[in-house]
Amino acid sequence: MGRFIFRRTLVALGVALTVSIISFLLLHLSGDLATAIAGPDATAAEIARIRVQFGLDQPMIVQFYHWFTDVLQLDFGQSYYYQSSVLSLIADRLALLVAVIGQAMPSFWFGLALIILFAVQLQWLPAAGHEGWQSFILPAIALGYYATPAMMRLTRAGMLEVLESDYIRTARAKGLRTPTVIFKHALRNAIIPVVALAAVELGFMLGGSVVIESVFSLQGLGQLAWDSISRNDFPVVQAVVLIIALFYIALTLLSDILNAMLDPRLRVG
């Protein structure tokens, strides 16, 4: 088990490294960053200044090296827009995000419908902002509802498949009562794919929160990313992408370890 966790962690670290390279390359290869930061009306001199200021004139590999060594020290650089540390910006909003990611993928329209029904028509809950726990109910529902059907389907399909299996028949042949058969013998095996899906869905929700936060005007991580995208504030975008990816990797790692505890056959690297 120890060796399994060690190996699985090594792979997770490898993926994390690759993701960080991609999140770096994504932004540096897709266009001239300096021009994008300076804005459409900037002069050539201004662009050149920005290029030097942000080190964009150096070779790509040097830029990556600097960025990556900084990231290892949890220094995501300075926000182009807020002119403050990216880390402190994100830390502020991470708490808010975690409150919302109890659930899943966005449906901006579903969110709007919720607002119209519960905030405007019924006036039960606030439509926007984050004052008190009530403000999180609608966003959480909007974020969570997308993943629910998939999870239900998988649990149901997994359960049906497991209930058909030979060892369930063996358990019934022993005369075990139905609750024992279902909870001891079936559920444990049926839950394995669900755990894996839950990790994936949670990861998707992190990415999806951008939309829901926009709909509910929540100042969360997603909103930060979204604002930064519209402001061409790329270090922030880059860091948010990376952090969400790392969250996802940690979640899948966790689900793999959890599944290995549920099923002894999975305890091999």
């Binding site: 993701v19 994504l26 966005p106 449906s107 405007v120 998707f204 939309v211 992408v241 990816a245 990797i249």
Partner: protein, 221 residues
């Protein structure tokens, strides 16, 4: 029939034209991602070993990237347009194709009819395209419908946030965004495109379910 929007444009005709855009994006993005995902998946599944490890790694990495955020960031850099959205979504949605193709190919790789094709001297291309692919096509069509629906929803999301299809093209997501300011007074402005989106995605998912049933194992008896 359904009234007009804030600029006096006819909702119905914009809605119908929007359907064309949604469907085009859904189909085009699904095609691109199918091409990428199926190629990677079939290679990983057939060859196994190192090839499989590398491609599996790619899939995990792709899954770790938040689609919406990356799409938004890229669209903002390149500039939102129909082409951008299609290409971006095509490049981001191949993971499920790859996962499904990979596991289906793994199951068929050692089946005796593939072995028998190999002993007949069939080329690799023949085995992958003419022996394996037709037998996993059923599962892939289902994935294609799912990804189509996924792409349509994502396009609407991008357009809603202003990074997708640009006005005056009538994307449904854009129509919701445009109507957002009036939604407290005229809820139908967002209700109509929203319901249209819902119905379309539901229809595609139902088609996918239907195809899954048609393709249910007919092999053994």
């Amino acid at each position: 029939m359904l009234g007009t929007d804030k600029l006096g444009r006819d909702m119905l005709s914009r809605l119908i034209f929007g359907a064309r855009i949604s469907l085009f994006i859904g189909i085009a993005a699904a095609l691109i991602s199918a091409l990428i995902g199926i190629t990677l998946g079939i290679l990983a599944g057939y060859f196994g070993g190192r090839v499989d490890s590398v491609i599996n790694y790619l899939i995990t990495t792709r899954l770790a990237l938040p689609v919406v955020l990356v799409a938004l960031a890229m669209a903002s850099l390149v500039g939102g347009s129909l082409t951008t959205v299609v290409v971006l979504l095509g490049l981001l949605l191949w993971d499920r194709f790859a996962v499904v193709t990979r596991s289906a190919t793994q199951q068929l790789r050692d089946s005796e009819y593939v072995l028998s094709a190999r002993t007949l001297g069939c080329s690799l291309q023949w085995i992958l395209l003419r022996e394996i692919l037709p037998n996993i096509a059923g599962a892939l069509i289902v994935v294609a419908t799912l990804e189509m629906a996924h792409a349509i929803l994502l396009e609407a999301t991008l357009s809603f946030l202003g990074m997708g299809v640009q006005p005056p093209l009538p994307s449904w997501g854009l129509m919701v965004a445009e109507g957002k300011a009036y939604m407290f007074f005229k809820p139908w402005v967002i209700a109509i495109p929203g319901v249209a989106l819902f119905v379309l995605v539901l229809a595609i998912n139902l088609i996918g379910d239907g195809l899954r049933d048609i393709n249910a194992p007919d092999g053994r008896n």
